[in-house]
Symmetry: C2
């Protein structure tokens, strides 16, 4: 059975690291990631340069990516200007974002959930005409840093608002990594009652070390697509010092050992993480990375 | 539903740390652990002083522990001399050990599995007369560092050899932390066909970040007892730099959030880990510790 991995380290990862990585280093990092066999990678975002300086080189970076890499890439866009930039740079897939908690969208983008989805309507219409695939992130599907536990019905309501968007995939984000498998099970039981399982991807943060258990539960319930970040890159902005994204290494170890197909080389992902680790001068939180890097460096 | 936690940091944890902790510091650490509400703790082992210098103060330490703590403690004993020491020091529970891989027992104690179990027969007879509870560790129940994957039938054979021992609990150890839930499921399906689920505890190492997923699967299959180590203390001797024991913090986070009763305060465990962290001068690998320590230190 094939499991899809969407690698988010160049965007979601680097955006949350304090050090700014040069365009050339990003290019090398992305090339290393692609060499591992990854087929889906979120390479950057087209946002206001002053907002996220870590990704202010998205135009320059995009010009350096090959068509092959671009065909396997998506970019995050916050608005129509970002969408136009994505289109101009030759991407075929964009990602947009909302959340299942109004407090979260209000604090982050000063809109309600409804308003945030409405703000993407123009993009949605354009994407349909331009033949651009849309991936939607929904944050805080289990817990919100401001509201606490999020009732699954709130997530379902949010998804219902997206029906005109025809997203090919909706990534369900446990943004603060607080969820446990029983939470995931309750949510998916509700969603899969109405929507097909191949509409969803699991985006579990590993803040409390629960991500793999949530992935395992999701697979049991029919989900076949997960987001992860090489080396676990990208801390959790809501808990200083804590880990954020699930590490691609840990996800791959779990998937490969469990007998699923991924098409991705664990060794090459570790090598990519090791490259970016040196540039960022930081420790890699992935346990699989820590366990295997001494063996890989020996060879 | 109540889940039992056996805290192994003072023995299994400290034994694998290079720095030797003083008896007074161990006493303070154990007291802090007990204050958290833990009801089962492996406090030390009675082994040859030259073999494991980290635990060479087991007699001195034992004299400082209160009767209340001793009634909730177990000690590891490798032979009859160790057993006599445990008895003399007032313990009511001992732990002995074997493995499901002959290569592992041969490399570690220069005996086959059968020989290792035979070597514990005198202890077993004495314990029955003395009214001492026996807990048995079986290492390498999923993977062996020398043999690789271990067939569940090999674990069953090992357990069958223990039938005269009347252990009240058998702790199933994924010693190198290489197992995934599907491995755990295969093993437990075989064992629970013959033995009751309350005979077993899960002892999952977190080397590749799989421990919580294995715990979750074990609970689904009826296991209600797990070993863990505060702060994840105790590295993996088979993979330098890698984490070993499952952190009690991560286990507790999972259990509490999943609605199980533990009787243990997560905050107090973090406080105990933080105490020993400063003495060992090391980073704590537990993700739950990393996420919560800034909040706890603020208060």
């Amino acid at each position: 059975m094939k499991i899809k991995i969407t690698e988010v380290s160049p965007r979601d990862g680097l955006q949350n690291e304090s050090k700014i990585v040069s365009t050339e280093e990003k290019l090398l990092f992305i090339n290393k990631l692609m060499e591992s066999g990854l087929e889906h990678i979120e390479v950057t975002s087209f946002v206001r340069k002053d907002r996220i300086p870590q990704l202010s080189d998205s135009n320059e970076l995009s010009q350096l990516l090959t068509d092959d890499i671009k065909s396997k890439s998506s970019v995050l866009v916050p608005n129509l200007i970002g969408y136009e930039n994505a289109l101009k740079n030759g991407y075929k897939e964009i990602a947009i974002f909302t959340a299942a908690s109004d407090s979260f969208t209000k604090k982050n983008i000063n809109m309600s959930i409804k308003e945030s989805i409405k703000s993407f309507e123009d993009i949605s219409k354009r994407a349909l005409i331009d033949g651009i695939r849309i991936r939607v992130y929904i944050s805080t599907v289990l817990y919100c840093p401001y509201e606490g536990y999020i009732n699954p019905s709130k997530v379902l309501e949010t998804i219902n608002l997206l029906e005109n968007f025809l997203p090919y995939e909706i990534s369900l984000g446990d943004t603060i990594g607080a969820g446990v498998p029983s939470d995931t099970e309750k949510l998916l039981n509700l969603l899969l009652n109405k929507y097909p399982s191949n509409l969803f991807a699991g985006h579990f943060h590993d803040t409390y070390g629960m991500a793999i258990a949530n992935v395992a539960k999701s697979i049991e319930l029919g989900i076949r697509s997960f987001d992860s970040s090489s080396g676990g890159l990208g801390g959790c902005p809501y808990a200083k010092g804590a880990s954020g994204n699930l590490a691609t290494e840990d996800l791959l170890y779990f998937l490969i050992k469990s007998g699923y197909e991924t098409g991705v080389s664990l060794e090459k992902i570790i090598s990519a993480s090791n490259y970016i680790r040196k540039i960022l001068n930081k420790d890699i939180s992935s346990k699989t990375f820590q366990a295997l890097i001494p063996k890989i460096e020996e060879n």
